[in-house]
Structure formats: structure tokens, C-alpha cells
């Protein structure tokens, strides 16, 4: 067997075409491609890739099954640890996790683990996902708050242990950020709902339109007979810069912009009644994955020009390399070392002008990135008619405010043990962005997994 140094490319929609539609950009491997890529895996005795996976997937094992042309077995191995493989295969930053540790990466490209994961999950979905095996039920109830990646993972693992699990979701569909945040062209909503259906088949009950902290408090749930609670409410409060004119019409938080488009399907307006206003010239402030999603969404909604405006340089961009490349290919433009200081609007209150300032990079700051310093007198005006502020999110206060005794960090996140999710309240656990601040889908899933194990130990009276 000859060893390829480079991985098999995954087919994708042509940038010129895809920028006109909301269909998925990356098209996935064919069986042949998957088998060929799988054959690159050396099946190391000491597989380092596994150490890079927050949900502990048996990576060489599932790839071996693929090599042997047994995708059904590959799917079984994968789902033993990962309840959301079609999602992870699409949105995980594998380059910083499993693939970063792959030995092939030392001299060439690492095995495309993420693409293989996606192939297996998609193959299984096309065949029809088999029903999970029944487990012996344990007569204890667990409430999960939030149906994003952390909540879904905790719920699925607890259901596999045998607990009676109910998820409480504030929005009208489950999925959290997978539904409202990540765009259709990167993560089709049908794929998300199918994976959630699998979790329902594990016996998990999902109550939508239920805002914990409002419809009922954690204390109410405990009183109603839940034995433990897991909080996975995510990073749900958008940050703004608090600069003059930021409340003008046409300036959205990334959450609003993406929620209107993804969750409410504003791109199908007026068939779907939720509107979105998109200008000719769109500026997205920030350079994370969410900013890339917003800039690419803007083009698909009909913007003529879409800019990423970022106060540091290309090197410091927190977005995944792949997302930045996709954005570039589609025509998103980048204004580095630039940040808005004020907005001006017309008489009706719509934003028209963004005043920006130029920055230079100084020494690295505490985050290890070089600190941007404003250049005096560098202000300039840029005409814009839509602005999307994508500079991160803080913790949503609804649960913390209504849960006495729950200790928070200075930033308002829930203080929880990294390994167990244990909080200051003995029967309450937490994980995901509500604990760490905005991070990735897979880290939230990892936290959900650890918390499920800790809740199991707690409910078995072993330890917290």
C-alpha cells in the first residue's frame, strides 16, 4: 500500500454558485474517497488522535472498520462515544484536536478524521439510523436545561445509563446554537434534527418553549421530582461595543442576524414571515467563526460587498482556517487593523456611515495575541448600510439570577469543576459555554459527557 502524503480532497460547491444559495458548501466523501482516505491511517499502537478528542471517540477503530468497507460497524463504534457525529464531522475544529495529534501530520497531512466521521454519519443517515438498544431503566429523573451541544450530549449519555431525562429548551425547536447560530450552508438543519431524533429515541423527552428561570425555576424542577439538574444554557447574551450610534437600525448582533436567517428562515421571506434587511455594503465586526458565518450569510442574502472588520491582523483571527478560506473564496473582503469607533445614520435612523480607526500591533497580551493599539488621527469614514457585531457573547443571566446559592465567576459564568461539572449546589451540574464562555461545539459536548458521568456517580451515591 502506497502512502499518500496528502489527504483526499472533499468536493465542494463552486464558490461562484454557492454564494447564491443556502445549500451545504462541503459535499462529503463518496464511499471510494472515504475508503482511500481511511487507508492512510496507520492504526498506531498508541493512537495520539484519541487524546485530542474531547468526547473520546475510538478513532483508529472506526477508521479500521471503514478500511474493511464496513461503515455500519464504523457508525456503531463512533456513536458509542459521540451522540452527534454528523454535526461534529462538520463543525469540529479537528485541526486543533484529533488531527493535530495524527502522526502523518509530521511529514504530510494528517488523516482527515473529521471528513471520515462525517462520511460515516451521513452514510448511516441515508440507510436509516437503526434504533438504539434498549437499556435497563433507573428510576431517577434528570433535568437538562438547554438543548445545545452540551445539553444534548449530557442527555444522551444519561439516557444510555438508564435515567429518565427531560430537556427544557427556551426556543421552539431543540438544538440551540446548532439551529439558530450555525448557518444552513455549513450545517443543514435537517442533519441536526435527525441527530436529535436519535437522542429522542434513546428515551429523552424534550420540552420546547420552556424558559428555565421564567416558566419554572431550578428549585421548582427539583420540587417536581427531578433528582439532578444539568445547566447547559450556553453563551446567550451578545456583546456590543458601546460606541455612539450602535443602536441605529441596520446594526444587528450576530445572534440576531443569524437567528433571523437560520432559525426563522428569513432567507425564505416572505414565505417565512420573519424579515431581515440586508444592505448593499455589509460590515461584520470581529473575526471568529461566527463573524465568518455572518459575512458569508450576508452575501447569500444579496449583499454586494461583505467585509470582515478586525482590529488585529490576519494571523490573530480566531476563526478556523477553513472558514476563512471559504469566506475568501466567496468574495468576503478583509479590513485588518481596523475597528469602528462610531456610527452615523440618516433621518429615519438607519445606519449609513461607520467611522473607523486604524490600529497597530504591540507586544503580545495575556491571551498571547499581539495587542492592538489605536493610531491617533487615523480615523476614516466608510459607507455601510448593514453592520453585524460579532465580538462574542456573555452568559445569559436568566438561570443564575433565579438560582440562589449558585456561585458565579466575575464574568457571570457558572463556577463548575472542569472534570465533573459540579457546581456550588450538590444536585446541580453545569457545562459548556455557560461555564467556559463562548467556545466550540465539541468542548461543550465534552463537558456534557463528563457531567453525565459525574451525575451518574452522584445519583448512585458514590461521590459528587
Amino acid at each position: 500500500m502506497s502512502l499518500r502524503k496528502s489527504r483526499i480532497e472533499m468536493p465542494a460547491q463552486d464558490p461562484k454558485e454557492r454564494v447564491k444559495n443556502f445549500k451545504e458548501v462541503a459535499l462529503g466523501y463518496t464511499s471510494e474517497m472515504a475508503r482511500e482516505e481511511a487507508s492512510r491511517c496507520l492504526n498506531c499502537k498508541n493512537p495520539l488522535c484519541k487524546k485530542g478528542c474531547p468526547v473520546e471517540v475510538d478513532i483508529p477503530e472506526f477508521i479500521s472498520a471503514l478500511k474493511e468497507d464496513d461503515p455500519a460497524r464504523a457508525a456503531k463504534i463512533l456513536k458509542n462515544k459521540n451522540n452527534l457525529p454528523a454535526i461534529c464531522g462538520r463543525v469540529c475544529p479537528q485541526e486543533n484536536q484529533c488531527e493535530m495529534h495524527c502522526i502523518l501530520g509530521k511529514k504530510g497531512e494528517p488523516v482527515a478524521i473529521g471528513r471520515l466521521e462525517r462520511f460515516v454519519a451521513d452514510w448511516e443517515r441515508e440507510q436509516g439510523i437503526p434504533d438504539p438498544e434498549k437499556v435497563e431503566t433507573i428510576n431517577k429523573k434528570v433535568a437538562i436545561i438547554g438543548s445545545g451541544p452540551a445539553g444534548l450530549t449530557a442527555a444522551a449519555d444519561l439516557a444510555k445509563f438508564g435515567y429518565q431525562v427531560t430537556i427544557f429548551e427556551a426556543l421552539h425547536v431543540p438544538g440551540g446554537v446548532l439551529m439558530y447560530g450555525i448557518p444552513e450552508f455549513r450545517l443543514p438543519k435537517e442533519v441536526v434534527q435527525q441527530e436529535i431524533n436519535y437522542i429522542k429515541k434513546l428515551g429523552v423527552d424534550i420540552q420546547v418553549n420552556f424558559v428555565v428561570g421564567k416558566t419554572a425555576t431550578i428549585a421548582d424542577l427539583l420540587e417536581e421530582g427531578y433528582d439532578a439538574v444539568f445547566i447547559g444554557t450556553g453563551a446567550g447574551l451578545p456583546n456590543f461595543m458601546n460606541i455612539p450610534g450602535e443602536n441605529l437600525s441596520g446594526i444587528y448582533s450576530a445572534n440576531e442576524f443569524l437567528t433571523r436567517t437560520n432559525l426563522m428562515k428569513a432567507y425564505l421571506f416572505p414565505q417565512y414571515a420573519t424579515p431581515i434587511k440586508i444592505g448593499k455594503k455589509v460590515a461584520v465586526i470581529g473575526a471568529g467563526n461566527v463573524a465568518m458565518d455572518a459575512a458569508r450569510t450576508a452575501l447569500r442574502l444579496g449583499a454586494e460587498e461583505s467585509y470582515i472588520v478586525y482590529r488585529r491582523s490576519a494571523e490573530e483571527m480566531p476563526a478556523r482556517h477553513e472558514e476563512v478560506e471559504h469566506a475568501r473564496e466567496e468574495g468576503v473582503q478583509f479590513l485588518f487593523l481596523t475597528s469602528p469607533v462610531a456610527y452615523k445614520g440618516d433621518e429615519k435612523g438607519y445606519v449609513k456611515v461607520m467611522t473607523c480607526q486604524k490600529f497597530a500591533l504591540a507586544e503580545p497580551d495575556e491571551s498571547g495575541r499581539r495587542k492592538p493599539v489605536a493610531i491617533p488621527g487615523s480615523e476614516f469614514d466608510m459607507e455601510v448600510d448593514t453592520v453585524v457585531v460579532a465580538i462574542g457573547q456573555g452568559p445569559n443571566p436568566l438561570v443564575p439570577r433565579t438560582t440562589p446559592g449558585l456561585i458565579l465567576t466575575k464574568k457571570g459564568n457558572i463556577q463548575a469543576d472542569e472534570e465533573t461539572g459540579a457546581t456550588s449546589l450538590s444536585n446541580v451540574f453545569a457545562g459548556g459555554d455557560i461555564v467556559t464562555g463562548a467556545a466550540t461545539v465539541i468542548l461543550a459536548m465534552g463537558a456534557g459527557k463528563k457531567a453525565a458521568r459525574a451525575i451518574h456517580r452522584y445519583l448512585q451515591g458514590i461521590e459528587k
Partner: protein, 279 residues
């Protein structure tokens, strides 16, 4: 799914719906709201809770059928179901014993002022209520308001009922002759702005309830942001009630009109059936 138990026409284009929603009814307090999504392709819209019955497990919403979504809602009959209903959202009204308080409801704003007046009355306040509208066919709940008020005053723009003029005219007279501790005002943005301007020289704390555009209603999107004093607040989680003397009403009115053009497109679609190919 949430069943509509009653659909009652209260006045010209004003509708009252009683909806089965036991969990929301169990927690609802004066000043809070719900968000509804009628069906799969509908938008999420906020509506204030006008009343609730913990015993029956129902909430009452009252709305004016002016926009595309409210017109569609008005078509729903008793027995039909609303797909999504979530709440109670927002911070409840701050109910205490203040002394003499004035509760003002303008137009469809009479509905949300009612539970506040009732709660203030129950807390031992002397409640003077003022309700107003353009004309008498837009007034409703006079008896209900009278029952929870020590005094009920009425104003209509055209003089068809009560005093001819605005609620602010009635309010100004009250402020001049009596010591008022606090004022609540709910109604159109222009009315709430006028009330705040009327009470400002008297330095009487004035609470208004804002009804901006919302999407999730739980603090996630920031569509409902309003400028209050020097700060930006989210009406859904910090409000919907704010100190009227601090609210930037002009900004709030502009933000309410953001999607006016799109609203017209939706309404036009309803009129021509959407088969015209023009939208």
C-alpha cells in the same frame, strides 16, 4: 400546541384571546409578556399578558390587528391551536405600597395596565386610572378597570366618551391637585413619551412598558435594545418596564419601524394571494 378557548372582539380591530397555558398561568405576574409563533412559517411576536387565571390554567392576551402577524392571529377561532407560546417573560412590575398611584392605559394598552392596576390596588395603593383612545369604539374593559381603581377617568381624542382630549390632559390636572407617588403608562410610544414629558416637571417617577421588536425574548438576540439613560438595555430581560424619564423614545420609535417595508410586502402578499409574482 396551545388551545384558544375564547376569541372575543373588544372593539374596532381589538381582540381578546384566552389561551390554555397552565405552566405560564401558574407563574405569570403583572407586567410580563409571552412570545407566540402561530405556525411553522410565522414570526415570533411578543404580546403582553393582560390577565391570567391560575385556577383555570389560562392566560388572556389582547391585541390590535394592525400588523401582518396580528391580523393573521385575529383570524384564529376558539378551539384552534397556537403552535408555540412561551413565557412568562420579562421582569414583573415592581408592586409595593406607594400611596396614590396613577395607571394610564392608551388604546390597546388598557389591557396590560389592568393587571398592574389590580396588583397595585391589592397592595393597598389608592389607584387612579386613566384610560384613553382615539374614540369610544376603541375603549374596552371600563368595568374591569373601574373595579380595581378608586377612580376611573376617561379621555377620547374626539370626545365621544369622557373628556375630549388626551390622557395627558387628565393627568396634568391630577398632578396639579394631588400628590401622586408613581405613574404607570402603557400605550403607543408617542403617548408614553407624552406622559413622561408631563410628569417630568412634577418629578413623579413614571414607569412605561416598551414593546419593541423581539425575536427570542430571552436576551439572546438584542433586537429589543433600548437606550435608557446612558445605557443600552434589552427590553426582554431588563424590562419591559423602564423609567420613562430615562427612555430615548425617539430611538425606540425608529427601531420599531425597522421592518416597515417588509411588513408592507407581507401585507400585500396577503391581499393578492401571493400568486402575482411581484414578491
Amino acid at each position: 400546541m396551545y388551545e384558544i378557548l375564547k376569541n372575543e372582539v373588544l372593539g374596532s380591530n381589538i381582540y381578546l384571546f384566552e389561551v390554555k397555558a397552565a405552566r405560564i398561568a401558574a407563574k405569570a405576574e403583572a407586567g410580563q409578556f409571552v412570545i407566540i409563533r402561530l405556525h411553522e412559517t410565522a414570526e415570533r411576536i411578543p404580546l403582553t399578558i393582560a390577565d391570567y387565571s391560575r385556577e383555570k390554567g389560562t392566560i388572556t392576551i389582547i391585541f390590535q390587528a394592525v400588523g401582518a402577524s396580528t391580523r393573521e392571529l385575529a383570524e384564529y377561532k376558539a378551539g384552534q391551536k397556537i403552535l408555540d407560546l412561551v413565557g412568562p417573560l420579562g421582569v414583573p412590575s415592581e408592586i409595593e405600597k406607594y400611596g396614590t398611584v396613577v395607571c394610564i392605559g392608551g388604546g390597546v394598552g388598557i389591557a396590560p395596565i389592568y393587571p398592574i392596576a389590580r396588583a397595585l390596588k391589592e397592595a393597598g395603593n389608592k389607584v387612579i386610572s386613566i384610560i384613553g383612545a382615539r374614540s369610544r369604539d376603541l375603549l374596552f374593559w371600563k368595568e374591569k378597570m373601574a373595579a380595581v381603581s378608586d377612580e376611573l377617568l376617561i379621555a377620547t381624542d374626539d370626545g365621544s366618551e369622557g373628556r375630549k382630549g388626551f390622557v395627558t390632559d387628565v393627568l396634568k390636572d391630577l398632578l396639579e391637585k394631588e400628590k401622586i407617588e408613581r405613574v404607570w403608562a402603557i400605550g403607543p410610544m408617542v403617548m408614553m413619551k407624552a406622559v413622561a414629558n408631563t410628569t417630568r416637571p412634577f418629578a413623579v417617577k413614571t414607569i412605561v412598558s416598551l414593546n419593541p421588536i423581539m425575536v427570542d425574548g430571552t436576551g439572546m438576540c438584542g433586537a429589543c435594545r433600548v437606550a435608557v439613560g446612558k445605557e443600552t438595555k434589552f427590553a426582554c430581560v431588563d424590562g419591559p418596564e423602564f423609567d420613562g424619564h430615562e427612555v430615548d423614545f425617539d430611538l425606540a420609535m425608529k427601531r420599531l419601524a425597522i421592518f416597515k417595508d417588509e411588513e408592507q410586502r407581507i401585507l400585500a402578499k396577503g391581499q393578492c394571494g401571493g400568486g402575482c409574482g411581484c414578491h
